[in-house]
């Protein structure tokens, strides 16, 4: 079981929904905002964030921390993130287990790390530095990847070990697990099985696209059936976890994304029920 509060079933805050959110709010339980989009002086985005925060819980989700990068962590970025967190009081602050910048060049992509002892040793003090500045435990998300390096560990062994050594938590993106599993030919259930349940703060669900030779993490479609199945498996194992639907490309009407979050609620409820029944069955036998 996770030790984090259960926020329910949320959606990502996206510009295309600003008007709808200001007019009618949202049926979703909570929202996730991309931190960098709100590191601005003022205007409509911050106004919308203030407005939705009045009614709903929020999580700040970054894309440019570059926790795995070789450049030093950017102190002005960390200060801006801390200020944003102080202002909006998110349930937690997350970013990705990846690197996004090298030699001051921002790639604006979530690039994979080699799963090596060297990378583990590199990450641990950097995570400590971030947790110091934020005065919060950092939540790190597994990314979709299209290439893998030679390494000492599997990605899931690496992530599990990292949570132990760095005392950080996990945002388990079930779609990313599935996409990477297909792209690198591993069993996605082995990945899910390896993550310490109490470390999982949150789950992401999103759509991907199939390019034959590989899957792309495009966030521009409904969640795929195979990912719903992996989500069901994950919840059966972990119990209830705050879940969020991401939709970034060809963003449909707010109701469509809300409906996807509602579907997650149904799938999770059935999975929790199935896990109980199984446990009770074992106890009765």
């Amino acid at each position: 079981m996770t030790r984090h509060p259960h926020l329910g079933f949320g959606i990502g805050l996206r510009t295309g929904h600003f008007s709808a959110l200001l007019e009618g709010g949202t049926r979703a339980d909570w929202l996730e905002a991309i931190s960098e989009n709100f590191m601005i002086p003022g205007g409509r985005p911050l106004h919308v964030l203030e407005r939705v925060r009045r009614d709903k819980m929020l999580v700040l989700h970054g894309v440019s921390l570059s926790i795995g990068g070789s450049d030093p962590l950017d102190p002005s970025y960390l200060r801006a993130l801390r200020a944003l967190a102080d202002r909006f009081a998110p349930a937690w602050v997350s970013d990705h287990l990846c690197w996004t910048r090298h030699d001051a060049h921002q790639l604006h992509d979530l690039l994979p790390l080699p799963w090596t002892e060297e990378a583990l040793a590199h990450l641990v003090p950097r995570i400590a530095q971030v947790q110091d500045v934020l005065a919060r435990r950092l939540v790190l998300e597994n990314v979709s990847s299209y290439l893998a390096f030679d390494g000492d560990l599997t990605e899931w062994e690496f992530l599990a070990e990292l949570t132990r050594r760095a005392d950080c938590d996990v945002l388990l993106d079930v779609n990313n697990v599935y996409v990477s599993a297909r792209n690198h030919g591993f069993d996605p259930r082995r990945y899910v099985d390896a993550i310490p349940p109490k470390r999982v703060a949150q789950i992401h669900l999103a759509g991907h696209s199939d390019h034959g030779t590989h899957l792309l993490d495009t966030h521009d479609a409904p969640v795929a059936d195979a990912v719903w199945e992996l989500y069901r498996y994950t919840i059966e194992r972990l119990g209830p976890v705050s879940t969020l639907v991401e939709w970034d490309g060809d963003v449909p009407a707010l109701e469509v994304v809300e409906a996807e979050a509602a579907r997650a609620r149904d799938v999770a409820a059935a999975a929790v029920q199935a896990a109980h029944t199984r446990r009770d069955g074992v106890a009765a036998a």
Partner: protein, 268 residues
């Protein structure tokens, strides 16, 4: 085992992802470069093809970010030319800030310097669109309201501070790109564009960004105000620039009324 240390590995991959040759050049040339990296390939995708996936996403993401901020320029150029411009631009000005919000800040200058083939008004259109991006998320400020002026004691008027809002941007251009922008965004062609002196103010009022063409005197006054000043200072300055038969206090009053109407001044 990875033979390369992490910084070296990241530097080589960064360079390959950002290099246009990774996508445009022959796969064999890329394979030779990628062979030095500890990247795994398999029967479905070689290690070089996997690097290409990242290179393609890199260009596409940056192009899309620029398209969001320069929608009219994109219409003016068309998809293909805009994509080529984006590629040239990010090769010259790679992103160095955490947010994509800042990516386009060098684009008007890039076009102005003629580093890509472009007609003169393209740079001015980009300048206008970038000013709108800046006004959109500028600092929120309490603005001077008409009611506040209504209750101002006569003796307080000279000392009234006249400070423009942070969102205000002033553009002195040689083409009417404000009208061009509207035509392009309405789905029309840019039309025939002749050189004509165009003074624009861009600002945000109640979360909405506005663009307005203004006369020479208002432009000069707003430029002058940027130094910070009082109503008495404004009257004094106007007196030195307007015709002798005009009343500076009257002109200042009508400018002030217009600015307050548009939410252009910060409340004291």
């Amino acid at each position: 085992m990875t033979a390369l240390r992490l910084p070296e590995l990241q530097e080589r991959l960064r360079a390959l992802i950002a290099d246009p040759e990774t996508l445009a050049g022959p796969l064999s040339a890329l394979e030779a470069k990628v062979a030095a990296l500890p990247i795994r390939g398999d029967a479905r995708l070689s290690s070089a093809e996997r690097v290409r996936i990242y290179a393609a996403m890199y260009v596409a993401r940056l192009r899309d970010a620029l398209a969001d901020d320069f929608p009219a320029l994109r219409h003016a150029l068309g998809e293909e030319a805009f994509g080529a411009l984006a590629q040239r631009y990010v090769a010259t000005h790679p992103s160095d800030r955490p947010s994509l919000r800042d990516l386009g800040r060098h684009l008007p200058g890039f076009l102005r310097r003629g580093e890509v083939a472009a007609v003169p008004w393209h740079a001015e259109l980009a300048q206008l669109e970038w000013a709108m991006v800046g006004a959109f998320d500028a600092l929120d400020q309490r603005v001077l309201a008409r009611e506040q002026l209504g209750v101002l004691a006569p003796e307080a008027w000279p000392e009234l501070r006249i400070v423009p809002v942070d969102s205000l941007r002033l553009l002195a251009l040689t083409h009417a790109v404000d009208a061009v922008r509207e035509r392009l965004l309405a789905g029309h062609d840019a039309g025939a564009i002749t050189a004509t002196r165009t003074l624009l103010r861009v600002w945000r009022q109640d979360l909405v960004v506005y663009v307005r063409a203004i006369p020479q005197l208002e432009m000069a006054a707003l430029r002058w105000l940027h130094r910070g000043s009082t109503f008495a200072d404004l009257c004094g300055w106007l007196d030195s620039v307007i015709d002798a038969d005009q009343d500076a206090t009257h002109v200042a009053g009508s400018l002030l009324a217009r600015w307050v109407e548009d939410g252009l001044l910060v409340a004291a």
